[in-house]
């Protein structure tokens, strides 16, 4: 049934945990649509055959007026189905928006007209090919160097716009090893239709072997544009180590301490996911997006109690460099644990429940390959 419907609708293969959920709702909607439209069309045709004009001048129909019950049914039945579909669809959407806590991160950068992928702990970075293991959740942290792009993997039924100047996230858990196309789906210029990439899903053991090998002897060089500072550094360094070195050379430690001691700027220790009170009194959670934004536009959201002395690092740090610094900041924990990353609702796939934001905070991250 699933295969028949999928082929009739020209849908791509279902290669992620979410894709079958989404397709089932699709089938529900399309079958209902077909049934209802056949009924409407059949009624219209029946009325035409029975009540067609037979050529008499001045012929007219009999007046028919609506009843309250009739109008209530006309309103109630469609409303019931529309809201039912919405409820199911929104539930799935919340799952699509909530990466599982144990997801492995990959940084994605879009630029005209290619995709770059890098692994936080110093694994190989690649252009237009993203290698991931099957059956492990992967979270993509995405940003753009120029205009808006959108990262669309039809086989996973996922899509997320990739914005300049901020991070967005998307996640998937691939179920079948294979090669799946990635399309850019936001108009980004002349090369928009050629901004394609590929997700290569590997068997987990195969992936681990490949990952360790690549990490141990060579990293794929970025093949376009000028070299970033990262490329001049020790290839064996992890992203965290790169972040530390970059922060040192960029002069971050002149104002930010890493051990909790007071300084000119807020300390980096436990900064990640800290609730900061801003100048205006609002509370801001220091997530990836906020930390990156503060590097690029420090004056936008200043933490209360500090002078604005920080310069903008826009144009001075490339995408992977700011990402490395963010990873370094994330590693600075006073209790030695890894932090929970998201405040939003999180969906536990196994138990089918939404995990409250607070309850996940004690969980220690157990990344699959670190």
């Amino acid at each position: 049934m699933n295969e028949l419907m999928r082929n009739m609708l020209f849908l791509p293969v279902q290669a992620s945990t979410m894709s079958t959920h989404i397709d089932y709702l699709h089938y529900f909607v399309i079958i209902t649509t077909m049934v209802v439209s056949t009924l409407i069309g059949g009624a219209a045709l029946g009325f035409y055959v029975k009540y067609r004009w037979k050529g008499r001048i001045g012929a007219k129909g009999e007046p028919v007026y609506t009843t309250f019950l009739g109008e209530a049914l006309i309103i109630g039945v469609p409303a019931f189905f529309f809201l039912l579909w919405f409820a199911i669809g929104y539930r799935d959407f919340v799952r699509l928006q909530s990466p599982p806590p144990n997801a492995q991160d990959v940084y994605v950068m879009g630029k005209q007209w290619m995709w770059k992928f890098s692994y936080p702990d110093g694994g190989p970075s690649g252009t237009n090919v993203l290698r991931v293991p099957a059956n492990r959740p992967i979270r993509l942290l995405m940003t753009s160097r120029d205009v808006i792009h959108s990262f669309f993997v039809p086989a996973f039924r996922t899509k997320q716009d990739v914005l300049p100047g901020r991070y967005t996230q998307s996640w998937f858990e691939a179920t079948k090893p294979g090669r799946y196309p990635v399309y850019c789906t936001e108009m980004c210029g002349t090369g928009h239709s050629t901004m394609r990439a590929e997700v290569v899903v590997m068997e987990p053991q195969e992936f681990d072997k490949w990952y360790a090998e690549e990490k141990s002897h060579s990293r794929a060089k970025q093949r376009d544009g000028r070299k970033t500072n990262i490329e001049d550094r020790d290839p064996h360094a992890t992203m965290i180590e790169m972040g530390r070195q970059l922060a040192e050379s960029a002069g971050c430690f002149k104002c930010h301490s890493t051990d909790g001691s007071p300084h000119i700027g807020p300390t980096w220790l436990d900064m990640y996911m800290r609730k900061e009170t801003l100048q205006g009194g609002q509370v801001q959670v220091a997530d990836e997006a906020y930390i990156t934004e503060s590097m690029m536009e420090p004056k936008l959201k200043q933490v209360q109690g500090y002078q604005l002395v920080m310069p903008s690092y826009r144009g001075r740090l490339e995408g992977p460099e700011s990402a490395a610094i963010v990873e370094y900041i994330k590693s600075l924990r006073s209790d030695g644990t890894e932090p929970v990353r998201d405040k939003g609702p999180q969906f536990d796939i196994k138990n089918g429940q939404v995990v409250e934001p607070g309850t996940g905070s004690t969980e220690v991250r157990t990344g699959g390959m670190q």
């Binding site: 007046p63 028919v64 529309f82 205009v147």
Partner: protein, 565 residues
């Protein structure tokens, strides 16, 4: 369907060359300086028809380019300009003004028994503003065009080197035309209704155009602000939407869709307006659920303002926003469903006459059901993630917005053509062209639904080879569609000069506008109108709807044709 039987001898004797709005004054000046709503309506119709053919030409070039996975007839850069121009011309120059400014201008004052609109000079100014905006946009197209898509998403639109600014300014200027016409209709409906014409007696066309006017007046200024800010940012590098200058790119999307989503209803409500007139006329009975149809138009107009965020499900807006906008979009879907059921219900116990306008009504209902249901599917948030910015969305909005507007435009053209020009066209050719258009439309866009399911993104100049078969099918359908339009152009042009003359009310409609002669005199009616019967009323005592043999054929027997079967 009845065969047309020309029998000029039965035409009621008419005075030789009666003065009407077309021949009461002659010369170019009498047109360019006219304040007659009927002439202004015709001038709008001429312009929007030219825009339709220009936009159609761009569409055909796009379809030809997509015949092969790589370059067929144009480069990627040219292709990007083509789809942008197709969108801009079709939306701003054709669909938004087509029915309100064209047919609305012509028939709305007649439907309420008025001599003209409330502000005749403003009405003429609206046409000139439209021309000025069109001139700006066309200048930009000739000098390079824009390559951003009609949505002008920032920061691409503010950094591209193409001629975005004149095209944005063109859209900005045309907005004033839209606002002027909207204000004019609102005031006209409030102040110029004939004696006895209460709100609950207004024809449904007037209700829908009234709702449209409210949206035009309230939403268009937002578009004005948005495109002006984008033009300023493009020209001077202001940091409003471009994060490289401290702006916010998603802000543009919110502002753009805050206009452009209600604008969808600016396009589709007038289409519904036309159909609410045509159904009772050709079913020859009262409309089923007058109040439901009238109030759902106003409901769509109001609720439609709060649904814009469903264009942004994958843009990075919050999960909560997505939920709110999804629910609101579903409510708009319910309003549309109400209308569909009521129109189909109107056919029950009617005396249905199948003629060209009714053929377009059938096409309209079909497109509205599938376009509407795919819209509901798209508002189902998780499904939209896969479909967003793919050909599924293209096919969806061509079904509901373009298809509905196009069917209504053609239906209105064939329905009011005898009233406008006092002549009629060949019914046979009318049905042939309607079949070509409806078939061509399906053959063009059904493959695009499937392409979207398969994952082909929109605005793709080159595409993976596995999508080719469906693209070729779509292009074949588009050729059929183009052929249908050319057929209509030919037979309506012939009918304009050589068509058979018709009398006051060839369809035997109970619409108030049919009380005037065809074509109407300069001041619309020979005598003041009295509104003593409800609209779309085929049942009141002493009101036998007349029907004319020169159009209908049939036997000259008045009365019932066996309704008590």
């Amino acid at each position: 369907m009845s065969s047309p039987s020309p029998s000029p001898t039965t035409t009621p004797a008419v005075p030789v060359e009666p003065k009407n709005y077309l021949n009461c004054e002659t010369g170019v000046r009498s047109w360019l300086l006219t304040r007659d709503h009927k002439r202004i309506g015709l001038m709008f119709l001429a312009c929007v028809t030219a825009a339709l053919f220009l936009g159609g030409l761009f569409a055909m070039l796009i379809r030809i380019e997509l015949l092969t996975p790589d370059e067929t007839i144009m480069s990627a850069q040219t292709y990007n300009r083509m789809f942008t121009l197709h969108g801009v011309v079709m939306i701003f120059l054709f669909m938004i003004p087509a029915i309100p400014s064209g047919f609305g201008n012509f028939v709305l004052p007649m439907m309420i028994g008025a001599e003209d609109v409330a502000f005749p000079r403003l009405n003429l100014a609206s046409w000139y503003i439209y021309l000025a905006g069109a001139a700006f946009a066309l200048w930009g197209m000739v000098h390079g065009g824009a390559d951003t898509g009609w949505t002008f998403y920032t920061p691409y639109s503010t950094t591209t080197f193409t001629k975005v600014v004149p095209i944005l300014l063109g859209a900005f200027i045309i907005g004033f035309s839209s606002i002027a016409t909207g204000i004019n209709f609102i005031v006209t409906v409030h102040t110029m209704r004939g004696p006895g014409l209460t709100w609950n007696k207004l024809p449904l066309f007037v209700w829908s155009i009234y709702a449209t006017s409210i949206i035009q007046v309230l939403a268009t200024p937002i578009l004005g602000i948005t495109v002006l800010l984008t033009a300023i940012e493009h020209a001077f590098g202001f940091g409003i939407f471009d994060p490289a200058h401290g702006g916010d790119p998603v802000l543009f999307q919110h502002m753009f869709w805050f206009y452009s989503h209600p604008a969808v209803y600016i396009m589709v409500l007038p289409a519904m307006a036309v159909m609410s007139e045509i159904v009772p006329t050709f079913a020859r009975k009262n409309i089923f659920g007058y109040k439901a149809i009238a109030y759902s138009s106003v409901g769509i107009a109001l609720v439609g303002f709060f649904a814009w965020g469903h264009h942004l499900f994958t843009s990075g807006q919050s999960t909560f926003n997505a939920g709110v906008f999804g629910v609101i979009s579903m409510i708009v879907g319910v309003f549309t469903a109400i209308k569909v059921f009521n129109w189909v219900g109107t056919l029950y116990k009617g005396r249905i006459r199948f003629s060209t306008p009714f053929a377009y009504f059938c096409g309209f209902i079909y497109l509205l059901v599938f376009g509407g249901m795919t819209g509901v599917a798209l508002a189902t948030v998780s499904l939209d993630v896969h479909w967003q910015d793919t050909y599924f969305v293209i096919a969806h909005f061509h079904f509901i917005m373009v298809g509905a507007t196009l069917m209504a435009f053609l239906a209105a053209l064939h329905y009011w053509f005898p009233k406008m020009f006092g002549r009629t066209y060949s019914e046979g050719w009318g049905l042939v062209a309607a079949s070509l258009i409806i078939l061509g439309f399906n053959a063009t866009f059904i493959p695009q639904f499937l392409l979207g399911n398969a994952g082909m993104p929109r605005r793709y100049w080159s595409y993976p080879a596995e999508f080719q078969a469906l693209n070729v099918a779509s292009t074949a359908g588009a050729s059929l569609l183009a052929f249908g339009f050319l057929t209509i152009l030919v037979y309506l042009t012939i009918a304009l000069f050589y068509g058979e003359k018709v009398g006051r009310n060839p369809w035997g409609s109970r619409g108030y506008e049919w009380n005037s002669p065809s074509p109407p005199p300069k001041h619309n009616f020979d005598s003041p109108q009295v509104f003593d019967h409800p609209p779309h009323d085929y049942d009141s005592e002493g009101h036998e709807p007349e029907m004319q043999t020169e159009v209908h054929g049939g036997t000259e027997v008045h009365g019932d044709d066996g309704a008590k079967r």
